[in-house]
């Protein structure tokens, strides 16, 4: 049987990050402490996912059934139950699923295409979960070594990944790096080969950090009424 290979970066991902079932992974992630050891693990997973995503293609092939693609989540999670970590990936499990889905004698091409699609989809899901967790754990971490490492990872991969991943990395960079992210944001804003939406987002995030007067904003509180404005790094 034609087989799709799991990029080596995705093998032995630490738990819970490597769990293929998204909701199960989320339940564990929510209980994780944001101590330096966990942050280091998450940064490592993030980088491995980004590296793997450069080797995987999310575009669904024409062979994939349209209705399966429209409501993909539950099919993906069924495959995740069968293969709870990417180390457990097997083409045969994908073939079994297709039969249960109602496709008698699924072709080698179809099995390969569904397997490849699932692999990429799970990797992106792990990437998103990791990034989301890091965004909360490192919010406005600015000068910390972890934030520095995060920005280094972003700089390494940003220009190679697709638009959707770029969008999420951009926001996370602003949230985590705050002022430290400004050079990256500026370079994106002034890169005319980048799509206008991303360039605008880069500009918006710079303004968010700097404020309308081009200086880092501070929180202003006036008693007895709260004036809730955007907090600056110096808060």
């Amino acid at each position: 049987m034609k087989t799709t290979y799991v990029p080596k970066e995705l093998l032995n991902l630490p738990s819970p990050w490597g769990m293929t079932h998204g909701m199960s992974r989320l339940a564990v992630i929510r209980r994780l402490s944001d101590n330096p050891s966990q942050v280091k693990k998450a940064l490592n997973v993030l980088e491995r996912c980004l590296s793997a995503l450069l080797q995987l293609d999310i575009s669904p092939s024409d062979s994939l059934p349209a209705d399966m693609m429209e409501y993909w989540d539950f099919s993906a999670s069924y495959l995740a139950r069968k293969m709870p970590a990417l180390d457990k990936f097997e083409m045969l499990k994908v073939q079994e699923f297709l039969v249960q889905y109602g496709i008698n004698e699924p072709s080698e091409t179809l099995t390969f295409d569904v397997a490849s699609y699932w692999l990429c989809w799970v990797t992106r899901d792990i990437y998103r979960a990791t990034l989301s967790w890091l965004r909360d754990a490192l919010r406005e971490a600015g000068d910390s070594p972890q934030a520095t490492r995060f920005l280094r990872i972003v700089r390494r991969y940003y220009w190679q990944v697709d638009e959707s991943i770029k969008q999420s990395l951009l926001l996370a960079s602003a949230s985590i790096g705050w002022q430290k992210a400004l050079p990256l944001l500026k370079s994106i804003e002034h890169n005319y080969s980048t799509c206008p939406q991303l360039r605008q987002a880069a500009q918006d995030y710079q303004q968010w950090i700097l404020g309308p007067e081009g200086k880092t904003k501070a929180v202003v509180r006036q008693t007895p009424q709260f004036v809730l404005t955007m907090a600056g790094a110096g808060d």
Binding site: M23, S59, D73, R81, Y101, R128, R139, Q167, V227, M230
Partner: protein, 195 residues
């Protein structure tokens, strides 16, 4: 017509909030709140920055400032989150800035076609999954779903699908979601408590 339905959904929702008694006595219900402006919600002056536009803003009887995104249908919400993911992102940032004082919510005006919250194609993530992940409650019609309830709904739907795959009783997605045309039907079909 879509725009009219959208405006109607926002007004209907604002009216529902007023009727349900969740709005603090001293607070107005602001519709179409804008970035950069200050709003007086009784004891609080507030802004919605960095959210460009908020459909409904008010101070609740729970003491929290609430910001809602309202769409007339689940399909419209799905389109919004797909084409303008930054709206939710900005709302999350707004909430994060004062987590113990602020709440956000997605509102869908009608139950018709509500199962679109389960749909996701290619790089999309299903609306319901996004909201559970980000801990954003959802209102469908007049039914307020808490995040735990949404989580339960998702898990039950998933279990039902998986059971049908495993037992060989699976037909197709149309037949599956036909059993869930209303939230009431869904309660019966999935054995979940929603209403």
């Amino acid at each position: 017509m879509d725009q009219f339905d959208q405006v109607l959904a926002e007004l209907r929702h604002a009216n529902q909030l007023y009727q349900s008694g969740v709005v603090a006595k001293e607070s107005p219900i602001i519709t179409s709140a804008k970035l950069g402006r200050q709003y007086n919600l009784g004891p609080y002056l507030t802004q919605i920055d960095p959210v460009p536009e908020g459909d409904v803003l008010y101070l609740g009887t729970d003491g929290l400032i609430h910001l809602h995104e309202v769409k007339n249908t689940a399909k419209a919400l799905r389109e919004k989150l797909k084409k303008h993911p930054q709206q939710l992102t900005r709302m999350l940032q707004w909430r994060q800035k004062a987590k113990d004082k602020r709440e956000i919510r997605m509102v869908v005006g009608t139950e018709m076609g509500w199962t679109q919250v389960f749909a996701a194609r290619s790089e999309e993530i299903a609306v319901l999954a996004i909201l559970i992940n980000e801990e954003v409650p959802l209102t469908i019609g007049e039914i307020n779903l808490s995040v735990p309830r949404m989580d339960d709904l998702w898990n039950r739907a998933e279990s039902k699908v998986h059971q049908m795959f495993a037992q060989g009783t699976w037909s197709n997605w149309n037949s599956f979601y036909q059993q869930m045309r209303t939230l009431k039907d869904t309660e019966i079909f999935l054995g979940v408590h929603l209403l």
